[in-house]
């Protein structure tokens, strides 16, 4: 089945130690998104790629970076994780926003714990 896959599902890192989260998709969607979701809150958009074009949200800290080497893969890099970065990180995809296919499809998420 076509889907959005995130690895790892659980990640433990130390304060200040860089960490990379991975997302892949078999949907062949143009757009890939990264969200941060903290407990009992709605997902918060960090940034998204429309093909190779990177779009950062204004309030996303510089500590968060992203790479999209090809259509299928997208990575979230946290350069120096702080305790406040512990959260669920969600990857989502959608087709070209200019079409009728606006639906975003979410992956299962990566739960990040910062010690």
């Amino acid at each position: 089945d076509a889907m959005v896959i995130q690895n790892p599902r659980y990640q433990v890192t130390q304060f200040g130690k860089p960490v990379t989260l991975s997302c892949s998709q078999t949907l062949n969607h143009n757009v890939m998104y990264w969200y941060q979701q903290k407990s009992s809150q709605a997902p918060k958009l960090l940034f998204h790629y429309y093909d190779k074009d990177f779009n950062n949200e204004a309030d996303t800290p510089d500590n968060f970076q992203s790479r999209r080497p090809n259509t299928s893969f997208c990575f979230l890099d946290i350069r120096s994780p702080g305790l406040g970065d512990a959260a669920m990180y969600l990857c989502a995809t959608s087709r070209d926003p200019g079409t009728d296919q606006e639906t975003q499809y979410f992956g299962p998420g990566t739960r990040l714990l910062v010690l």
Binding site: Y50, L90, G98, Q104, Y105, G107, G109
Partner: protein, 113 residues
């Protein structure tokens, strides 16, 4: 202007009852309104969605009612089941606006036996 307000924050319904979650928006440019269901430890999954040119959309036990003039929309879950216990998020987006979702704050639904 970009906010989507959602209520209630939590809801307890008896098995077989009707669950109703309400959302309101300000930005009249929004033109696509999806609802997402999220189980603990999982990513949100699209449940049902509506465009403002229709007033109601039904899929199985799930119905969206949309009131364009009042800028409100709601999710009705008929014959609620314990397996429906989850967090529900309404959302809104603007077609051609980068497809960025504006989420409501979420409703934690618990369906009791």
């Amino acid at each position: 202007q970009q906010q989507v307000k959602q209520s209630p924050q939590s809801l307890i319904v008896q098995k077989g009852g009707i669950s109703i979650i309400n959302c309101a928006y300000e930005n009249t440019a929004f033109d696509y309104f999806p609802w997402y269901q999220q189980f603990p430890g999982k990513g949100p999954a699209l449940l049902i969605a509506i465009r403002p040119d229709v007033s109601e959309k039904k899929e199985g036990r799930f119905t969206i009612s949309f009131n364009k003039s009042a800028k409100q929309f709601s999710l009705h879950i008929m014959d609620s089941q314990p397996g429906d216990s989850a967090t529900y998020f309404c959302a809104a987006t603007i077609r051609g606006g980068g497809n960025k979702l504006t989420f409501g704050t979420g409703t934690q639904l618990k369906v009791e036996l």
